[in-house]
Symmetry: C2
Subunit: 241 residues, 2 copies
């Protein structure tokens, strides 16, 4: 096993995670009031600034509402939280959350072809060259994890080609959710990233400049693994209940 860089967890990080877990896993219902900052600091055995920093970050994520003079209350994260919360929800409670993973796969299958279509509309020769290079990198390795990384890099180029800030940020958020689990998912995704041919077809389709062709090609890249993973997850979800 390769050495991993150590990542020291700061006190506010710790507090943030604990409060987040309470909110997300239902220990605290929406509308409920949190203990005061002083009280929390006392209970957790940390200083008030540390608590304060954690709560402010919670507020930024729209998970709680902090009111000067009043108490801090929990908000309904399903109604207000943004896509940046996805990584936290995917890894909730130690393992992968099957329902969240399913929804990510579904979203990918919707967004991917849309992005490819836009890239086809807007890309030029430079984009095709970058895509080709990315495909060759993908073809140049046999390792499943490395292939994952190269596939991700390929889509990164596609997103660049789409020239859409919204899709770019969306992709960043999804990638942030995906990357921590990348290694664990490598065997499951091997089927997809091993089909270099499909990526070549997609590259050519984008190069042709026809959105519909690109859309279809992207779907052919994403659909097979998505389908098989979804059925696997469905079995998992049912067995959990």
């Amino acid at each position: 096993m390769p050495l991993q860089p150590v990542s020291p967890r700061s006190v506010p990080d710790e507090v943030f995670d604990q409060v987040l877990a309470e909110v997300v896993d239902g220990g605290l219902e929406a509308g409920e009031a949190l203990p005061s900052e002083r009280r929390l600091a006392e209970v957790l055995g940390v200083s008030r600034p540390a608590v304060r920093e954690a709560l402010q970050r919670m507020a930024q994520t729209r998970l709680v509402e902090v009111r000067h003079g009043g108490s801090t209350t929990v908000r309904d994260f399903r109604r207000h939280a943004g896509l940046d919360l996805l990584p936290r929800l995917l890894l909730r409670g130690g393992g992968l959350d099957a329902a969240v993973a399913r929804s990510i796969l579904e979203a990918r299958l919707v967004v991917g072809p849309g992005v490819a279509a836009l890239a086809a509309e807007r890309g030029g020769p430079a984009l095709v060259a970058a895509l080709t290079a990315a495909v060759e990198a993908l073809a140049g390795t046999e390792d499943d994890v490395e292939r994952q990384v190269h596939a991700l890099a390929y889509w990164d180029v596609v997103v660049d080609g789409a020239d859409s800030l919204t899709f770019r940020l969306m992709f960043n958020s999804l990638r942030a959710a995906y990357e921590p689990a990348l290694e664990a998912l490598a065997p499951l995704m091997a089927e997809e990233v091993g089909q270099v041919g499909a990526y070549r077809v997609l590259t050519a389709a984008i190069g042709e400049g026809d959105p519909d062709t690109a859309r279809a090609a992207a779907e052919r890249v994403l659909r097979p693994a998505t389908t098989s993973l979804l059925t696997a997850l469905k079995a998992l979800e049912n067995s959990e209940e």
Copy 2:
């Protein structure tokens, strides 16, 4: 003009916004180091905790990288920031950013039909009832702003029906970007939200349970206004250059 609730801007908020503007508008390049917290506090005339809180929030948004003992450096927000940054980018520099608005419209056109298809797969009679109620609320007003609000509520129900956490959070993020500009956009979106018939057709399509029908119906709801707005924005973008 109706009275607006005052929203007191805290010191860390102010600092956050200033640093954010520097990073997003290019005053600080990616990789560049920020002044130290003490120096920033001195320059801005605030305390170090205030600066610290702002920087931590920047770090949470993945706009800067804070290293203990080292200096805080700017990251490339296009490469790392998540969808939660969208509202800030849309309203960059006082007005609406045309390129960002365009990308939101494009994303909407891709994601909306996808969500509708999922809702058709999973929704039952209860969903249709909720959708019908939402359409009736939409039909019950003539005011453009109110219609906007009701249309948003309608899509909210669709997203619920899709039973996908990813799309739910995505919708929340897009709505957070959209809502501040809702009033300004009302006249432009009037064309879309006035077509109650299209919403009824979409509702029926979702009720039928056929994803493809629902997808097509959703596109018929979204496409017309999207197209006309895109051409308007294109003219705007060109005139800006």
